[in-house]
Symmetry: C2
């Protein structure tokens, strides 16, 4: 399941369906009542017996309502579907309230994976991105509180907070040994989900549309901005869904109908019985200019539908890295006591009928960003100096090699003379005290430079390649 710590108001950033869409898919227009169909007394008796044993005999007092919630959570876990989750009454209510009010947070999409709150993608230029959070970071601790046993919703509520306040997240990053502490300053998360610009290259005008999520108004805004670009006679279009965690199914279908060739399937929806429903594009003909999709490992759900459709139904290039791999659609179901189950109801397949769950959409042109995009923020327990060897030095070397003209010569974490020379060069250029050591000041500057470089797109190899494809 995804929960947006972002701007969503009436959806939560995952691939969700509107109530009427669901009703239509289930039984052609009428909303079905949830009726009991399990009268297997033996199985309920077994659950009853377990509850009795535990409450009677367990060494400590047992809270029965906790047991019931544990039972539901345990049942959902057997589905092995990270997107099907339980939310108790008070959490469900609190969460709805938090969505109603003006939203202030860190701007990242999270899911629950292996029992830990996990970053799917930080939003573009959000506090989360600026602090260095990355896809697949696991959040272990929020402001000193262990997230173990915390539900996704409870975790999100703790991460959110007033603009300007700071939340400290301790994260585990794949391939990194020690947990990392990151201070994230909360901010108001902008509600705009569509950004566009025109890039001129080799005498050609290339329109770029970035989609940060698929929210209610995203399709309308996309249509307006696409029209503006077309009025400027663009020679090609790049659609950037990197770091876009998804959103509403209907919205991606609408956007697909604006760019996918006439009559081609944008997406296929499959239900419990394996019945498929295809959604076809009602564009008039085919766009005259080439289109390229930009994807990365943070492109999830609706982003993957769009990238898959551009690739398979449009025959367009997809540049970047493999997408996240979320191929299911959820809906929130309310229980008798006000608690909720968010359940995966449908699977979606790409235009050609490929199931991308856990697999993702493979780009037609694979381009990784430079290594420093993936470097871990430095941790300054002590200055890094000559002849030391550790992971922080490795990250500093990758950053120096990537964004400065001072090449440390190696990126394996050993601080040799060449590294020292590179540090001196960087310090001199930046007007810092020239010590040859990576102290807190030098390290902080180095990281600022990395963030600037990423935001300034001067090393955005994926975008560069997409532009090349259109200019060629």
């Amino acid at each position: 399941m995804y929960v947006a710590m972002g701007p969503m108001n009436d959806d939560n950033g995952s691939m969700e369906m509107e109530q009427d869409e669901v009703a239509q898919l289930i039984n052609g227009g009428e909303t079905e009542e949830v009726l009991g169909n399990v009268d297997d007394d033996e199985e309920m008796a077994k659950i009853q017996q377990a509850i009795d044993m535990i409450t009677d005999k367990y060494v400590d007092e047992v809270d029965e309502s906790k047991l019931v919630e544990g039972a539901i959570t345990g049942m959902l876990e057997t589905l092995e579907d990270p997107y099907s989750v339980y939310m108790d009454e008070s959490t469900a209510e609190e969460f709805m309230n938090s969505l109603d009010s003006t939203f202030e947070g860190i701007g990242a999409e999270v899911s629950m994976t292996d029992g830990r709150v996990t970053i799917v993608a930080p939003f573009r230029d959000s506090p989360a991105e600026n602090a260095g959070l990355r896809p697949n970071d696991k959040i272990l601790v929020i402001d000193g509180e262990d997230t173990d046993g915390l539900s996704l919703y409870d975790a999100v509520l703790k991460i959110r907070g007033e603009k300007g306040s700071t939340v400290t997240l301790t994260i585990e990053r794949p391939g990194v040994n020690d947990p990392i502490d990151l201070d994230v300053v909360r901010d108001e998360i902008p509600i705009e989900t569509v950004y566009s610009e025109i890039i001129e290259e080799d005498g050609k005008s290339i329109g770029v549309i970035e989609l940060s999520s698929f929210a209610e108004k995203t399709a309308t805004e996309f249509e307006e901005q696409l029209k503006e670009l077309e009025d400027s006679n663009i020679d090609g279009l790049i659609i950037d869904v990197r770091g876009n965690p998804g959103g509403l199914l209907q919205v991606v279908e609408e956007i697909g109908s604006l760019i996918i060739p006439e009559g081609e399937p944008i997406v296929q929806i499959e239900d419990q019985e394996g019945e498929r429903m295809r959604q076809l594009s009602n564009l008039d003909g085919k766009k005259e200019y080439p289109i390229v999709a930009l994807t990365d490992e943070g492109s999830a759900s609706a982003s993957e539908i769009l990238a898959g459709a551009l690739k398979e139904a449009g025959g367009y290039e997809v540049v970047g890295t493999n997408t996240f791999g979320k191929g299911t659609v959820q809906q929130t179901l309310r229980m008798v006591d006000g608690s909720e189950i968010k359940l995966t109801l449908f699977r979606w397949l790409t235009s050609d009928g490929n199931n991308i769950n856990e697999v993702g959409v493979e780009p037609t042109i694979k381009v990784e960003q430079p290594d420093f995009y993936y470097a871990t923020p430095l941790d300054f327990e002590e200055p890094l100096t000559y002849d030391m060897s550790n992971e922080h030095i490795k990250n500093a070397q990758i950053m120096l090699a990537g964004i400065s003209e001072f090449d440390p010569g190696r990126t394996d974490g050993y601080f040799d003379e060449e590294t020292e020379e590179a540090v001196r060069g960087f310090q001199e250029q930046e007007g810092l005290e020239v010590t040859g050591e990576i102290n807190e000041e030098t390290g902080t500057r180095l990281q600022e430079k990395v963030i600037e470089a990423i935001q300034g797109k001067e090393y955005d190899l994926q975008l560069d390649r997409a532009i090349e494809v259109i200019v060629e």
Copy 2:
């Protein structure tokens, strides 16, 4: 929960009670029937509704008996007690069978922690220990199969197998970055749980009794071997429970009565209502010689009772490191359909009434083993050579520094000239090709030397300190 992959026949190595003991504690002799006492229809209705929603609407077909098992597992998880677990009918049956037959395995105690099968302690001189498994190693993969979602019992059944066959375990070790592959050759696990010897030091005879677990015959054997030692007029006694994962409550009470001063409490048992029952030693007086307990982080459950009693009721020294911290007693309860719940029924407290759960028993004299005891087995994807820097080099340096006369000068993982010199020295001494590189041959020899050193006890700083205490 503990499950012995060891020699246990009618217990499974955890702190368990016999049926009659339990009955006595609960209601003075009569075995209580498990009766229903929850008739809260609302709560059962909620579970029923969740089952209906999931089976009706989930995108895939749902196995209802799996759901019920998930519900029970989920309820037990709310207890946040790693020792309370569910076992389905076939697993329970298969497990009983595997305990009946001659036992062949790897010789290690495991528990389920954070959803992963975790080593509590390898048995002394077992295949597990010889392969380099250590307390708190998490088993991620067994012969290529991910353990995620596997129950503890299913995992144990996969790890066990015919003598001479090999099982490959992929483990995650705290503080180590990448998963480690270990090949463990299964063997018959010896059934003896008591070993004793006499060490002569400074003209004094010191009896040493090692207890590898608290099994049915352990107390009788302990009594016999203690008598032999006493007939040899020992001047002191060392009781070594390092790496001892526990066993039967009754057995540790019997052993306590052989060495804890007369009338002192060996252990206190506390039930759900907080009622405590003290078990007093019926020794005649007090032993005339000093006693020292040896503990480490693999000393769990019954081992901790014994160490705690020696420390608190006997006033004896405890040498080594903090114990594991398991302060509860389980019993297996059978359900209507043959499945079982193993449930924590009681808490035990030390002689002075201290709760050691998750805390362990602190030694009175803290002694760590040399660093090489804790070094990670090397992994030979490529030879380790001059100017490289990584974790494998770090471990090799720790081993060289610990068990050879060739000191690499640093143990931070950077392969400098001094390290190369040390490798050459070691290769020369061992009659290996002198290359200055740690290739597979050199690394393997180095690790053999480490295992020899650990088994030969020549660097056993904890034992040395215990001997000193008695000789002083």
